[in-house]
Symmetry: D2
Subunit: 307 residues, 4 copies
Amino acid sequence: MSELPYGYFGPEGTFTHQALLTLPLPAAAPIPYPTVPSTLEAVREGKIAAGLVPIENSVEGGVSATLDNLCYGDPLVITREVLLPVSFDLFVRPGTALADVRRVITHPHAAAQCRGWLARELPLAELTEDGSTAAAAAEVARPDSPYDAAICARVAGELHGLTSVATGIGENPDAVTRFVLVSRPGPIAPPTGADKTTMVLFMRHDHPGALLELLEQFASRGVNLCRIESRPTKKSIGDYCFSVDAEGHIDDARVAEALMGLHRISARVVFLGSYPRADGVQPVVRGGTSNDAYREAADWLERLRRS
Amino acid sequence: MSELPYGYFGPEGTFTHQALLTLPLPAAAPIPYPTVPSTLEAVREGKIAAGLVPIENSVEGGVSATLDNLCYGDPLVITREVLLPVSFDLFVRPGTALADVRRVITHPHAAAQCRGWLARELPLAELTEDGSTAAAAAEVARPDSPYDAAICARVAGELHGLTSVATGIGENPDAVTRFVLVSRPGPIAPPTGADKTTMVLFMRHDHPGALLELLEQFASRGVNLCRIESRPTKKSIGDYCFSVDAEGHIDDARVAEALMGLHRISARVVFLGSYPRADGVQPVVRGGTSNDAYREAADWLERLRRS
Amino acid sequence: MSELPYGYFGPEGTFTHQALLTLPLPAAAPIPYPTVPSTLEAVREGKIAAGLVPIENSVEGGVSATLDNLCYGDPLVITREVLLPVSFDLFVRPGTALADVRRVITHPHAAAQCRGWLARELPLAELTEDGSTAAAAAEVARPDSPYDAAICARVAGELHGLTSVATGIGENPDAVTRFVLVSRPGPIAPPTGADKTTMVLFMRHDHPGALLELLEQFASRGVNLCRIESRPTKKSIGDYCFSVDAEGHIDDARVAEALMGLHRISARVVFLGSYPRADGVQPVVRGGTSNDAYREAADWLERLRRS
Amino acid sequence: MSELPYGYFGPEGTFTHQALLTLPLPAAAPIPYPTVPSTLEAVREGKIAAGLVPIENSVEGGVSATLDNLCYGDPLVITREVLLPVSFDLFVRPGTALADVRRVITHPHAAAQCRGWLARELPLAELTEDGSTAAAAAEVARPDSPYDAAICARVAGELHGLTSVATGIGENPDAVTRFVLVSRPGPIAPPTGADKTTMVLFMRHDHPGALLELLEQFASRGVNLCRIESRPTKKSIGDYCFSVDAEGHIDDARVAEALMGLHRISARVVFLGSYPRADGVQPVVRGGTSNDAYREAADWLERLRRS
């Protein structure tokens, strides 16, 4: 039986593409999709086994298109994550000098990271935002392009035959993007001991203290959070949901109890998967919150009831 | 097969006796015991089916002998509670006038409630404390007793042929004592919808915020407390345990989860029974904490794991 | 003495421009700036008295450029807010039919809101993102533009002589954008009774429960939050700060105490102003948190100390 | 000007007397009072400069008479505390052998601690409770006393010419009683760096979570508790107030803010003094809760307001 390929938020030459190549892949060549939603839709439709999309950047923050699509579409789950350092070059058509660059094109996230360098080195250059850094490179590669330079990953510049005239031009040399591999729901891989669980929490009524109550569901079970991000629910100003990464796996008793607690007090909990952490960091399991402690407490209760 | 009798903290004529008579009793006559510990020991030894002892008074607070014995001895559980209004009379031997009363005897709890009246009406009288109000009445009934009067329940005064020279002399006309019927552990009667669960909580380390953490185990499951009382653990000044009555029954999912949570983070949880409330007040079950909500959340989790 | 003009995130014809026109303005004509950072820099340099920039959209969420610039640059404060419904039209050069539209240009936030309509009505159209909806309209107005249509505000389409071929094409007819008027720090206008205070909170160590501790600083003083938004601190994945709008004014005792508490336990609190709420909603002041209650408690403490 | 003497809960020969002798005393001989209330009343009436009474025992718990009198009478404050190991002997009239002891008299607290020894060594002895261990010794010293032995402090036995037939008979060889020196309100001695503040807290409405809210007033300011004890308010079963010792001094900013917070959300806060700890233990002052941190935060707020 032939295996489905993976897909990714393309085009070829993006950081997402680079990130995908760090994973073990099916034999079939990976398929680029033009947008995050089209990548995830291809997963939902069963055209690809899984799709890789960016979810978070250490500089720009959450990737709204990913967060919102995972939250509101048909159920999908994250099965892997990839962390990739993000480094930008300024690529031009061969023959263009740095001093001649007037119009620069790139993706908004890259633009945000390179604005300081541009203001310093190319104060007169005009910056246009495009859908991806790879598309920007492709645009600049067109002989009649109105743009002189693209800010993009080295892989994209090289793919399109461009020349680098400046390297590492982002403000944050340590910038990292986090990508998630997304599949249709299926059996969840067992805990590795260093896992994350991702979910979106909608508050029942947006009353004062509601966020505090949600956080206490984690805290009272000793579950730490790695990420919390508010997103508008698109209903009205001031109505938020929260995208959360928690330490641990749905098969860890403390995580399971926290999930059930959240399910009970929230309007809605969207479970987005339990998967191994890319950094392999194991959680500090607080006293009384290990699986053994949970099992022991359940046995104790059972004995009380039966005594 | 012959049924075991009930016992109570006697002697005959105490409020505990009165309280016992409000319960459905086995055929065998109830047996008075001289102290709370001897009553509870008789339960442990299987000499009586159950023993009634005072646990709390609306004026004096917790009854230490009961709280400590339940906590530190072999396991016992509360199966019923009784609330009894407490009203005191001043009883004398027939012939003694109120104005002649010089030495008064009674139980310390009664003394505490009648001190104001004594200071006002019998400023010169000397007050001696005795083991029970009924014993005080018995003492005064002895012709050669050094005491002129006993503060006791009407039933005790009458039992011993004494005469009331003042009635309702307690400071708190609404004073109430709460009694508990205690048995050896056995099958727990099912929830009535208006139940209490009693326990003693020992903190793991007496660190700052430890009590807050215990209370959050209740709060995060929507379990309200009816009573919380600190008791020294007898180890050192500043080392306390907490005797707690919580709303609900061990078979209520929110109570069960709170108990397990407490068991996990405490040094020790002594379960002292789930039983119907004497006042029949039903708890307000907060959204998301009903048995249905718990069951639904468990089903949801199961579906996520299996999907 | 001549009064400085206001500035705004332009160009002319943007929603920001529209929002500015709802405010009382200085005599001098308002000045458009090409970006949020350049608008705010003009405020810092004293070229304009105040600048209006978008901070939040009910669909897209926070405006990163605004949140980050306010947080990391020289101190600025918000003195007013404006809420503006956001409605999009599809504008073309006169003579173009809807069916002929192949290339559409707009700002990413507008793109996000109109993707559904485009997928339905113009499935083959290619969407390009530009720096503003007004710039998109200007681009389409160029006779040799490669773009056939712009998604923009009516005011922008009309300004550039374009024709609307579809109206209200956003997914969220109730979409609202919130703008803030930003000045250099100066005397804070007194409370109106319906105020907001905006700040950014950096946690001291990103330890588990740190966000909970920050939220408790508000909760323990009865201060409700209207908005909380995580932003990466640009240091590493998983290091966040929180942009927060709280109900009340820095001159309200409960807000002042919460601010001081946050200042004490945070690595850094960036105060971004206290200003009247655009919706005029007055906070519910919980028992014991009014200015009178604070004053009374301070008097009580003073009496204890002096007694 | 002649200095007023100190008073204490007598009679001579009690542990309270012993505890008093550890303090620097006025020249005038200390005056014993027959009860805790009469000692404290003498302070209120200005007959004595201060009175020493027991407040807590590591075995028996709080001393109700002291806790209640301090809470409900005219204002008094604690200015010192004394910790005293409590060790009991069995004293008899000279000539009585241990084996002949049939009737034993002592104070209920001593009785509680020596019951185990009595049950073991004198199983047939009848135990009567009296107002103080010293009074018990005096009673036994009467030639025609019906009692054969008193359980009391060595000092009391010796004072009354009795003979010890057993020593250290309490169950808890490490038992300690804590005494407090109580005065009329006046200037509070400045902080020593190792201080305690005592208070009684009445909840506004006895709603679920009310105790949690009170505790959070301490926790949110980093103030640790040394003791918390529930006391019935004497209104009805289930209505409690809380007697609390907190680490720190009313002149410590974090304690002052917690006191004001409690005053604002409680029905009533009875302040019972700030005074040096007998054990000299200095509190761990959590980050951001020192006086310097408070002052710095107040300065910061002032700068924001004035900027």
